[in-house]
Amino acid sequence: MKRLGFYLLAVGWLVCQPAASFALPLEGMGCEACHRLSAEAPPGERKAPDLYYAGDKLRKEWLVQFLQRPVVLRKAGFFTAPGFLAGEPDARPHPVLSEEDAKKAADDLAALKLPGLPTGLVDEEPLSKVGRVKAKILFERDYSCIACHEGINLAGQARGGVSGPSLAGAGNRLKGDWIVHWLKTPEKFIDKSRMPVYRLDEETLAQLTRYILSLKKEPDEWTR
C-alpha cells in the first residue's frame, strides 16, 4: 500500500511539472498557437511572424524586453489576418512573460536559425550625416519603404505606412545580416509577402541596411 502511494505521488509530481522542463524550445509557452516554429508547419497556421529563423532575425536583448512588455509592431495586424485590409487588426494582445520566462524564451528563440545563412555582411558602423541623408532618400523616396513601414521623421516621430511592421525601432530589433538577406532573397523566409521585391546593387543594399539599423526609436511604452 505504501509502495502504491509512493508511485501515485511520483506520477502526480511528474504530471504537475511544467511541460517546459522536458520540452523542446518554447514548447508549452503557447507560441505555436500563432507563430510557426518550423518551416514545415503549414502556411495556414501562420497568424503572426514565423519564428523558426528568429535567431537570424531578432536581437536577444530586444526579445527579452518585448516579451515582458509587448508593443504593437504591426498596427494593421498581421498580413494574413482576415481583417488586415479592412483596417481591423486582431486586438488580442501578445502574452506577457515574466522576466525569467522572457529570458528563457529569448534563449530558445536565439537558437532557432536557418542552416547556412552567412553572417558578417554588414558594416554596422553608424552612417555619416551625409550618408544618412542619402540613405533616407533611398528609404523614403527611391524605394518607397515609407509607404508601408514607419520610419522616423525629422522631428524624431515615427511616421509612415502601417501595412508592414514598424521600422522606427528596427535598429534595436533586427540584425543587420537578416535585413540584407530579407532584402536580397525574401523567398528564403516566406513564400509570398506583400512587399515588393527589389533587385538592389550591393551599395544600395548596404546603405538601406545601415539606414534601417540607424532607426532606434524606443516604443513610447518602453520609455515612460
Binding site: A86, E140, Y143, S144, A147, G161, V162, P196, Y198
Partner: protein, 161 residues
C-alpha cells in the same frame, strides 16, 4: 402714185435691213434671259448618296478581370489603394500624397494604358508622380501588370481619352 407702193427712201430700207435682224436677235436673247429668270430655280438635286464606309467593328468588350488579377490587386495594391480601389487602403492616411482613387475616371482617362503600366512597373517617381508608389517590376511580370491596367480600367469604367 399709191403711197403703199411708192418705194421707200433708200435710208429707210437700209435701216430696216440692218436693224431688223438686230432687233429680232435682241428680242430672242431677251426672252431667253427672261425665260431663265422666270424659271423657278430647280431644286438642287439631292446629293448623291456618299458611299458610306462600313462602320468599324465595335471594339471587343474587354473581358472582366480574372479572379487571379483581382487577387493580385487585393494582395499588393489594396494595401494603399483600398479593397475597392477607392484610394483608402490601410496605408492611405499615413501617406504624404494620397494613393490614387482607381474608381475616378476624371484623372485616369487622362492617362494612357502605357503610363499606367509604367507607373506600376517602374514606380510613381519614374513617371513624375508620387514616390510613395513603389515599383513592382521585379515582383510582377509584364503580363500581370497589363492585366492590372485592364482591371484599373474596369474600376474607373474609363479608357484613355
Amino acid at each position: 402714185m399709191d403711197p403703199l407702193t411708192r418705194p421707200r427712201p433708200i435710208l429707210i430700207r437700209l435701216a430696216i435691213a440692218l436693224l431688223g435682224p438686230l432687233l429680232l436677235a435682241l428680242l430672242f436673247l431677251a426672252c431667253g434671259r427672261e425665260e431663265n429668270a422666270a424659271r423657278p430655280e430647280a431644286p438642287a438635286p439631292p446629293p448623291a448618296p456618299v458611299a458610306e464606309a462600313p462602320a468599324p467593328p465595335a471594339p471587343p468588350k474587354a473581358e472582366p478581370a480574372s479572379a487571379e488579377t483581382r487577387a493580385t490587386y487585393q494582395w499588393y495594391c489594396a494595401q494603399c489603394h483600398g479593397v475597392k480601389g477607392k484610394g483608402n487602403g490601410i496605408n492611405a492616411k499615413w501617406l504624404t500624397v494620397p494613393p490614387r482613387d482607381h474608381t475616378k475616371a476624371e484623372y485616369l482617362e487622362t492617362r494612357t494604358d502605357q503610363q499606367l503600366f509604367d507607373a506600376i512597373q517602374q514606380g510613381g517617381l519614374a513617371v513624375g508622380r508620387a514616390p510613395c508608389m513603389p515599383r513592382w517590376g521585379d515582383t510582377l511580370d509584364e503580363k500581370t501588370i497589363h492585366a492590372l491596367v485592364r482591371y484599373i480600367r474596369e474600376l474607373c469604367e474609363c479608357e484613355a481619352i
